[in-house]
Symmetry: C2
Subunit: 334 residues, 2 copies
């Protein structure tokens, strides 16, 4: 049985259901626009741990366990966890998985990880390889900043185009059910690199990858923007969002009000996040915290989520390489 | 249709075929036991590139393109590339994928990546989500050493228990065909951590993860060691191999001559590799270079390959954490 349409899109004919989601957010995120939607908001970004990396691990483990609990399953019912984060060698994920103790596949898609994990996880359920999977992603502001840029204690000034790495973790449990939001398709992205070398300009670097996958998704499925109630990119921020709108307009496609970016939905204007939110947890918190609940309330019934990942490393930046980017899409429908 | 047996094992009822494989190896590996089996052997570990990381990228791209060519396909026929390496943010993989230009899913399983990519890739073909996929992994001695331990220029003395990170890349193209070695099952590993903190003792750290997956594979499938012509772990070296033999013996299972470790098959005694080979390319070179060809010649007809990955990071080591490990298994049969 053929389960692919067009060039890059998988169709999930058995329509795996998102049974439930859960989120753990940092204090800045909790004080932001969507604060009321998160299950747990930390009072500080260390949460009693010995390091920021441990705090991130703890957030991921809590998000997985909470999502499993809310879905009415036990952790032993999870046939596979698919997860990743931004830290070198997926440090937060691996230490969380040590205590979660379930079969595990590690993914690296940078900030596209939430969508990548839902894409692969939905395939595992749709294909009959698993009954229930947990898909997760996390990021932590201080842990990511000291790895990618500067330790936050240095107080280095951030340029206005920079985005703020989100502290948080989100998890979605996908399985079989009669009701609930279903993952209906997944479009696998290609690596796209438009030559940007400034690691503060990640929104601009990632926007062409999002457009590439969006165009391909429409071409593969025959759908148009009008098919969806909302289309979200993961963490392009205000600059990247504007580039997506313009590039699509050049194709003759007006996204207009149907499109928004998760990175523009987390922080308030006065929270000093500059161009918006970034990090794996940007799309993880917005999808698992907000969008999923909007779908349960039937305020949204057809959503396209495009995870967006900047695949550079501090080493590639030091070697003066440009920034390769990727975007994976999943459509979720009631 | 249910495609999972027992707790952790997927069965590929359509039996995706490994169409062909290709390898690019470093000069030390080319001078080793299996030198004659590699498609390309570099004359030095920089290969005209500006950095070791670029050299690794180039190896991966060559391995992918060569495997695709040998399989009689064009690069455009590859529906998805599944790949990873050891470098922070999968640097070598991402820069290779930029020029390969095919839909791509990034995986991080440390040195278990070759098996992880074959497991997920086989699932995509078996389930009808892709016609043809390319599965790849790479590592580079100098790039890995300076990231994980010390720049090799420092000439730091290595303890006798240390293993030598392999320079090389391997790729396997999996698709549909009437003849050829078939991927019949895949057992997804759990993270296992026995508390070892010495990052030179990776073979010892990873052995319990390999045993955990091996036991589960036998329990899930009802198979015994006698079912296989050969069982290989990825890169445990002489110390880890001995631990696997002993732990299985304590279970009453005598692996004996049916078992070997890829990390013990690459270097000659006089090549100063100490406890053996390690790195993603250990199992990638041995499987894609040697074992696949033995299967084509019908010298081996049932093989179990257990990728073994040490999931620590330099940060986790500095934070005095122990080493979480994982092992994913794929069975390949004629």
């Amino acid at each position: 049985m053929k389960r692919r349409i067009g060039e890059q899109t998988l169709i999930f004919t058995n329509e795996p259901v998102i049974l439930h989601t859960a989120t753990v957010a940092g204090n800045k995120e909790g004080a932001g626009k969507l604060g009321g939607y998160f299950d747990v908001v930390l009072t500080d970004n260390i949460d009693g741990c010995a390091s920021w990396e441990q705090c991130e691990s703890k957030m991921m483990e809590r998000a997985v366990r909470a999502a499993v609990l809310k879905s009415g399953r036990n952790i032993e019912d999870i046939d596979c966890v698919l997860a990743g984060d931004l830290l070198n060698q997926l440090m937060s994920t691996h230490f969380a998985m040590r205590t979660v103790g379930r079969p595990f596949l590690g993914l690296y898609g940078a900030c596209s990880t939430m969508a990548e994990s839902m894409l692969v996880g939905s395939m595992m359920v749709d294909g009959g390889y698993c009954d229930t999977v947990a898909c997760c992603a996390s990021s932590h502001h201080e842990a990511a900043e000291r790895q990618y840029r500067f330790p936050t204690e240095l107080g280095v000034q951030r340029p206005p185009i920079a985005q703020w790495t989100v502290t948080g973790a989100g998890s979605a449990v996908i399985g079989k059910a009669v009701y609930g939001p279903r993952v209906t398709t997944g479009t696998i992205g290609k690596v796209v690199d438009y030559g940007i070398k400034d690691t503060n300009a990640l929104g601009a670097a990632m926007a062409p990858a999002a457009v590439d996958t969006l165009r391909q998704h429409f071409a593969d499925t025959g759908r148009t923007p009008a098919y969806y109630d909302k289309i979200y990119t993961g963490d392009l921020g205000v600059i990247g969002r504007e580039i997506v709108l313009r590039m699509m307009r050049e194709d003759g496609i007006e996204l207009g009000g149907v499109y928004d970016d998760c990175g523009c939905m987390i922080y308030l204007e006065n929270q000093d996040a500059h161009a918006g939110a970034s990090g794996c947890a940007s799309s993880a918190l917005v999808f698992c915290g907000y969008l999923f609940k909007q779908m349960l309330k039937q305020k949204l019934s057809k959503v396209l989520l495009l995870g967006t990942g900047s695949l550079h490393s501090p080493t590639s930046y030091q070697q003066k390489e440009s920034i390769p980017c990727i975007s994976h899409a999943v459509s979720i429908e009631l």
